[in-house]
């Protein structure tokens, strides 16, 4: 491990592991599942407990892993887990508890095709689960969608920063393509892990033991509140936090939207494919732009609303039956047509298919 920036050729999953160590992660707790097992394999191979002191544990289940994250996060530690779609479903109870107890943590979902055991091929069909809640109750996750191996590394640090800024779980919502493909990546320099003194200062709520010397009440990490009047206040506080996240943390990337007649909205690996489709369409004289949300929650609805005032239509492309398209439609609010093209069950759309969808639905 180098204490400086480093350029490597690696898989997206490996980049997650490397970046986690380098951004000062205290603990990783996971359970093997394809197509993301390289994350834990890489960590176990590097043995960061010998260098940074980071704990890496293979848990007995995804359920145990997310509850280990709860325990670690409750101590103010920078902890994370990773899994793929069926495993993320198993974690939902724990994620709801973590969101309710306002604990910071990072969860990585390298999505595969579902429903059920589905397939190990890539998919984006966990969009609803990720951005609308997933588990029980009213809560939101900060959802970051990487579109390259470089972004797998970059968003890791950002996810921890946002998680601690808002005391909220952050989800890196990647797909099997990004997890498995190899690209050049610039890894960040090693950041030191927080010391216990720093944690006590940064996270006065953390359960590190009630000091007899300093006068503070006991710290309790819980999501239980039997009084509905109080529970409503807790919920209102959470909603206020989510509104603040929506106000301040929207991230997206736009290409060629300035003069576009049509805008493709796509995230993750599908945004890469759509980028190629955009170039092909422009060669045919169709003015196409690309809007790539980097945060899926908060969703760039204001930007879509702005574009809807002057473009002729939107095409949302996803590896799902059409999930993000609902949020695009809500933002466009009927001003212009919003069409959808998607592939299902582990199939990846080709740029040709996207151009064909665009021309058949809009240009005709």
């Amino acid at each position: 491990m180098e204490n400086k920036e480093e350029i490597r050729l690696m898989k997206g999953n490996e980049a997650i592991a490397e970046a986690a160590i380098r951004c000062g992660c205290d603990g990783y707790f996971g359970y093997p599942i394809t197509p993301q097992s390289e994350i834990m394999e890489t960590l176990m191979d590097i043995e960061p407990w010998k260098t940074t002191g980071m704990v890496v544990m293979q848990a007995e289940s995804e359920v145990a892993a997310i509850n280990m994250v709860y325990g670690g996060a409750g101590c103010g530690k920078r902890v994370m887990t990773s899994s793929s779609s069926p495993g993320i479903s198993l974690k939902q109870e724990g994620i709801s508890y973590i969101a309710a107890a306002e604990l910071p943590c990072v969860i990585v979902n390298v999505m595969r095709g579902g429903p059920g055991l589905g397939t190990i091929q890539p998919s984006q069909a966990d969009y609803f689960q990720s951005v609308k809640g997933g588990g029980h109750g009213d809560y939101r996750l900060i959802c970051l969608a990487p579109a390259s191996v470089q972004e797998m590394a970059d968003l890791m640090g950002m996810a921890f920063d946002l998680a601690f800024k808002y005391r909220n779980p952050a989800l890196i919502i990647a797909d099997g393509v990004i997890g498995q493909m190899m690209e050049k990546v610039v890894l960040p320099p090693q950041k030191p892990r927080f010391t216990e003194e720093e944690i006590i200062k940064l996270c006065p709520w953390a359960t590190v033991g009630k000091p007899e010397t300093r006068n503070r009440n006991q710290n309790v990490i819980t999501s239980l509140c039997m009084d509905p009047v109080e529970m409503e206040k807790i919920n209102e506080h959470l909603q206020e936090k989510y509104r603040s996240i929506e106000e301040n943390e929207v991230r997206f990337e736009e290409t060629n939207c300035e003069d576009a007649d049509y805008v493709i909205v796509a995230f993750g690996s599908v945004a890469r494919i759509s980028h190629k489709a955009m170039e092909m369409a422009r060669k045919h004289g169709i003015k196409v732009g690309l809007l790539r949300p980097i945060t899926l929650f908060p969703f760039p609805k204001k930007e879509i609303e702005r574009l809807a005032k002057r473009v002729k239509g939107f095409l949302t492309v996803e590896m799902s039956a059409g999930q993000m398209v609902e949020d695009v439609r809500l933002a466009v609010n009927g001003k212009v047509p919003v069409e959808f093209y998607g592939r299902l069950g582990g199939m990846v759309p080709s740029p040709d298919e996207v151009v064909e969808a665009l021309t058949s639905k809009f240009v005709k």
Partner: protein
């Protein structure tokens, strides 16, 4: 000697532990939880470990343990306390970390977390309150409910052909290489309370010695769930629970 003199601090031979908060307990009169909570608070005081101990509360009656014992607590999802405690201890190895779990939490929904934490030899203390019933939800059948025992979901008595056998999980945990100390205690008499306290202290001490997991089962009463008076509950426990869950050390690696 009048009452005011008796109450003077220098004349006190017993007082409420400092680490026991003043919040009135929600536990039913006669319930074992209150006694075990007091023992934990006494040990926190006597061992001087308030700033070094983190408790993990379960789902069940003891979900509110943090209202009574003045230490830092995390309240875990149902059954997941050993996983939560695992991470706390791994990330802060110089802390005393314990779970406090009922039979439904530890031996039904949390069986996997319990067995795997114990099998990994996590240096935590597992306090297991076994009263053979779900108290918080109103007296349903637990994994440890005795054969023939009436509960709200076994209203004709637990029948083995329908419900299976009572799960005797503590001997199972004693079989695992990861456990260093497995004992079964009760708190129904003064002598039993003293023994249970010694067992709890040993469990806490073990967690700092790196020897593995300590399991302290407390065979307990739930007089509300059992629909008996506190006194009758204690007698019923001695006559019916102890033969199935006999008291004593099951394993002690010294």
């Amino acid at each position: 000697m009048d009452i005011q003199e008796i109450k003077r601090p220098e004349n006190l031979i017993y007082q409420k532990p400092k680490s026991l908060l003043d919040t009135p307990m929600h536990y039913c009169p006669g319930c074992s939880h209150g006694v075990v909570h007091k023992l934990i608070a006494e040990l926190v005081d006597e061992m001087g470990i308030q700033e070094k101990i983190i408790g993990v509360a379960p789902v069940g009656c003891a979900v509110f343990a943090y209202n009574y014992v003045d230490i830092d607590w995390q309240q875990a999802a149902h059954g997941r306390a050993p996983a939560v405690a695992t991470a706390i201890k791994r990330l802060m190895p110089d802390r005393y970390v314990f779970t406090y779990q009922g039979d439904g939490d530890l031996a039904a929904i949390g069986t996997a977390e319990t067995i795997h934490a114990a099998n990994r030899g996590e240096n935590i203390t597992i306090i297991f309150i076994n009263n053979g019933i779900y108290g918080m939800t109103g007296g349903q059948m637990a994994p440890t409910t005795l054969k023939g025992m009436i509960t709200s979901t076994s209203p004709h008595g637990r029948q083995v052909d329908i419900n299976g056998y009572p799960l005797n999980i503590t001997p199972l945990l004693a079989l695992l290489d990861g456990t260093c100390y497995v004992t079964r205690q009760a708190v129904h008499t003064v002598a039993a309370v003293r023994k249970a306290k010694k067992a709890l202290q040993k469990g806490f001490e073990n967690s700092m010695l790196g020897k593995g997991t300590s399991v302290i089962e407390i065979v307990s009463t739930c007089n509300s769930g059992w629909k008996m008076t506190p006194d009758a509950s204690n007698k019923w426990m001695v006559e019916n629970m102890f033969p199935v869950y006999p008291l004593g050390d099951l394993k002690d690696n010294g």
